[in-house]
């Protein structure tokens, strides 16, 4: 449905977006994940028509949207901190887009009521928005965007200002609402937990390009680069030197890894060691390390060794204890493919 082709944008003289391309299919929620300042919000504003790209196209069903101004695109936009109109009530905010479409009064009333019911805010219709809590304001902002039945919904870090418990709860609801309505959505965040909780598709934005797009499990299983693996928090990232014949020299010692590198012996490679792929003790463990820290977390103990490697264990070792362990290593590309 939505397709972005080679979007370029500079910000204060620096290239911010350098050819962003990705697609959003019907009924699908694409989560755009990137670090703060990577241009995610700018990309959303370009899709919304609030800003112009210097190069590239935004297509909807193959039609170029460039000549269509923001107010005629019928894309809903939900902001961080909600951007509710302070001079209007809850119902007034939700009705705003419908009034702009000059709908008859009774239809506005029924659609506002329906949208507020959808986000469980029906009882708040006549309240001024200044009285609402952050979570309530975000529900109203969502209802405001839903009421116009947009072709596409866009969320710009919508839950960033809320506390964690409320955020998890709202994410679940939002996922339900998005799937029920069938409206395709782009959800922008820098928080990978949030991304995994909502995304049908993940798109990783790094240094002005989408470095990887795919289903969450696929992106997690095959991170495209060291940056992607680190940003998604997949585990330990190690630098190593390729010795050939499936062997890599690292700070831990020489490990076995199936790297496919075009470069020859001595080339730099990046390795991923997922914490769940570290096994303490057992036969064939050849690596040694001293435990520097043990931290209890909800699902087990997080063990950190003096060489920086971390993993999880159900039976915690002692701090200072020397342990033997084995690892499974995955090879990563050091540079993002461009």
């Amino acid at each position: 449905m939505l397709e972005l082709r080679g979007i370029h944008k500079t910000y204060e003289g620096q290239p911010l977006l350098r050819g962003v391309s990705f697609t959003v299919a019907a009924g699908e929620t694409v989560c755009l994940l990137g670090a703060s300042g990577s241009g995610k919000s700018t990309l959303l504003r370009i899709v919304a028509g609030l800003e112009r790209a210097e190069a590239g196209q935004v297509l909807w069903d193959g039609e170029d949207l460039a000549p269509i101004p923001a107010h005629l695109r019928n894309f809903g936009l939900v902001f961080q901190d909600y951007a509710l109109f302070p001079h209007l009530t809850v119902a007034g905010n939700v009705a705003f887009g419908l009034r702009m479409r000059n709908l008859p009064r009774h239809e506005i009333r029924t659609r506002v009521a329906a949208a507020l019911e959808q986000v469980k805010m029906g009882a708040f219709a006549s309240r001024p928005v200044g009285d609402l809590s952050g979570g309530e304001q975000q529900r109203v902002a969502l209802a405001r965007a839903l009421a116009t039945r947009p072709r596409l919904l866009m969320f710009d870090e919508p839950l960033g200002a809320l506390d964690r418990a409320l955020r998890d709860h709202l994410l679940e609801e939002l996922r339900g609402i998005l799937h029920a309505s069938g409206i395709p959505a782009i959800y922008v965040t820098h928080d990978q937990d949030e991304a995994f909780a909502i995304a049908d598709q993940l798109a990783l934005l790094h240094e002005g390009v989408i470095v990887q797009q795919g289903a969450p499990e696929q992106v997690c299983a095959h991170p495209v680069s060291a940056w992607a693996a680190e940003f998604l928090g997949l585990g330990n990232i190690l630098a190593g030197k390729w010795l050939g014949e499936g062997r890599v020299e690292t700070a831990l010692g020489v490990v076995e890894a199936a790297c496919e590198t075009a470069a020859g012996r001595g080339a730099s490679v990046a390795l991923l060691i997922r914490p769940e792929r570290v096994k303490m003790g057992g036969n064939g463990s050849r690596l040694k390390g001293r435990v520097s820290d043990v931290l209890f977390q909800k699902n087990g103990y997080r063990v950190t060794l003096e060489n920086g490697l971390f993993f999880f264990a159900h039976v915690p070792p002692q701090v200072g204890q020397e342990i033997v362990f084995s690892v499974e290593v995955e090879c990563l590309a050091t540079e993002s493919p461009s």
Binding site: A48, G49, L50, F96, M100, T148
Partner: protein, 585 residues
């Protein structure tokens, strides 16, 4: 201490010392409050009360008096409404210009628009007179045009717009600059086009600031006195002007009292309204709001708007202030018998004349004496207002319950008009201040006959400014730093010198300059109170302007130029001294 003793022995000693400490705190606060409150009571609230009392005199409540009061009130509201609308008409585009666009000379132009607000009214009136009056430069350049400016409503409205546009620029401009861009983006993504974004989002967002700016401008136009007296002439009587005429020319104090009482009621109501509207402006502060920064104009229509408005503002705000000094050094005299051919010559004659005591001139002394009187009064005002303002400001710098309650009272003189104040002084102090047969009464000394009355009135007018200048500076004194200095071995005096003194010195100089400038330009109260042989500069300018003859006119221009120079120096000094936010330490 009695309360302390009544408490149980177990916690007695601690509580007692606490209460003793509290009591000494309260005593100190009362001591700080006593001088300013006593002064305000005697020289502000008491005179106002006397005015209200005269209103209940049967001599005041006659149908004729009601008629005069009502027609004055009607004209006051009429001209203030027109002036406010015109000010908004110029101020709104100007606010948009300053909030939205970058252009060369922007900060200079912004400063230019702010200068008139700080200049004495007589200077502004004289400036417009020098440009557009019957003897002004425009009438010399276009001798055959039948355009009349002086003594018209147009003159009054123009000067009011000139004065108050800066208020709209400041208040609405800051609201424009602080509006959250995402609201507009949200509106556009919800389907609102440009015009509807303005109508449904931007304007409602600006409404509190528009209301506040409009109310404040209306208040200033409502209480305007010098501009109307000097530019409007006798035909236009607002409440202020009518009060002045009735008190000074008709000697009808009951009617003047009635007019003043109406004026006072209206200004207090307007001040209260302004306080409420201004409070509503500060409702929304979104920490993540996205602001728009000013940028150079891009499209052709934007360039046209910026260029046109900048040119208009520059002309409007520069020409009168340029015409004044120019006119003060130029002779425009018609040759005898030939009215149409006016000759132009540069001359310092008007300035020289200021030093000459001519027989048959308006004064019994050389006119320059007015400048000396003004400087003397201003000096006294500075001393008095600092003396009274300092204790009040130090108490307000660490406000307690008492201070929050008293604070509005200190600011009340801002709301009352100067003419009302002057009338209050006349009514109150035309009798001996001390009991006739009291021990301190030395003969028949009346305050009204003394030259002290003028600086006393000026102090009332200046005191709110002085307190508002001192208070934030004193509040910004970092007490922790004084403690740190003490812990590092500095004696209390040295700690005070190191921490407090730089701030106190700066703030006092700034507040003193404020009082000085206010006193120099004060016209409303002075017009009523100044004794004929002790004129101040504004009074002298008014007398020169109301007399016929080119020489009188020229001397008014020369005097007004001197006053403008002094006031500008004062403004510049205050700007230079404005303490950097949060102190510089």
């Amino acid at each position: 201490m009695a309360q302390g003793n009544a408490l149980g022995a177990a916690r007695g000693s601690a509580s007692a010392s606490k209460i003793a400490h509290l009591q000494s705190q309260i005593q100190l606060r009362l001591l700080l409050w006593l001088p300013p409150l006593a002064f305000l009571g005697l020289f502000f609230f008491y005179p106002l009360a006397r005015i209200l009392v005269t209103t209940f005199d049967p001599a005041a409540l006659t149908p004729d008096n009601f008629h005069i009061t009502f027609s004055a009130l009607r004209f006051t509201v009429y001209q203030a409404t027109l002036s406010t609308l015109l000010t908004l008409l110029l101020g709104l585009p100007a606010a948009w210009l300053f909030a939205r666009f970058e252009f060369p000379g922007k900060s200079l132009l912004r400063a230019l628009t702010a200068v008139p607000f700080l200049l004495p009214t007589v200077v502004v009136a004289a400036g417009f007179n020098a440009l557009l009056g019957p003897r002004g430069l425009a009438s010399f350049l276009f001798p055959l045009s039948s355009f009349q400016f002086s003594n018209t409503l147009t003159a009054i409205l123009t000067a009011h717009v000139f004065y108050n546009t800066t208020i709209v620029i400041r208040i609405v401009g800051s609201a424009l600059a602080q509006r959250d861009l995402r609201l507009e983006q949200a509106a556009r993504s919800l389907g609102a086009d440009g015009a509807r974004v303005w109508l449904h989002v931007i304007l409602p967002g600006l409404r509190p600031s528009l209301l506040a700016a409009g109310t404040l401008v209306f208040l200033f136009d409502f209480t305007s006195f010098g501009v109307i007296l000097l530019l409007g002439g006798p035909a236009f009587a607002t409440l202020e002007v009518e009060t002045y005429i009735q008190a000074l020319h008709m000697l009808n104090l009951p009617l003047a009292g009635l007019l003043s009482a109406v004026q006072l009621t209206c200004t207090l109501a307007l001040s209260a309204l302004y306080t409420r509207t201004a409070a509503r402006m500060r409702v929304q502060a979104n920490p993540r709001a996205v602001f728009e920064s000013a940028r150079p104009p891009r499209k052709g229509s934007e360039k046209l708007f910026v260029t046109g408005l900048v040119a208009l503002l520059a002309l409007f705000f520069v020409l009168p202030m340029l015409a004044l000094p120019l006119r003060s050094i130029s002779r425009l005299e018609a040759a005898r018998g030939e009215r149409s051919s006016v000759q132009f010559a540069l001359s310092g004659e008007y300035y020289r004349e200021l030093f000459i005591n001519r027989r048959g001139s308006l004064f019994y002394v050389p006119p320059i004496r007015a400048a000396l009187n003004s400087l003397g009064y201003a000096g006294l005002t500075v001393a008095l207002s600092l003396l009274l303002g300092f204790p009040a400001a130090s108490a307000l710098a660490r406000p307690g319950e008492l201070e929050r309650w008293l604070d509005p009272f200190l600011m009340l003189p801002l709301g009352a008009s100067a003419v009302t104040l002057g009338l209050g002084f006349i009514i109150t102090f035309n009798r001996p201040l001390l009991p006739e047969n009291g021990p301190l009464n030395t003969g028949h000394w009346k305050l009204l006959a003394s030259p002290w009355l003028v600086p006393l009135a000026h102090t009332i007018v200046a005191l709110p400014f002085v307190i508002r200048t001192l208070q934030p500076a004193l509040a910004s004194i970092p007490e922790r730093l004084r403690d740190a200095a003490a812990s590092l071995g500095a004696s209390p005096v040295r700690a005070w010198l190191a921490v407090d003194w730089p701030i106190v010195w700066r703030a006092s100089l700034s507040a003193g300059t404020f009082a000085f400038t206010v006193s120099l330009g004060e016209f409303g109260a002075t017009a009523l109170l100044a004794r004929p042989e002790y004129p101040t500069i504004p009074v002298a300018i008014y007398r020169f302007l109301s007399q016929p003859g080119g020489l009188n006119y020229g001397q008014a221009m020369a005097m007004a130029t001197l006053l403008m120079a002094l006031a500008t120096l004062g403004i510049l000094l205050i700007e230079r001294l404005r303490a950097p936010r949060g102190g510089e330490l």
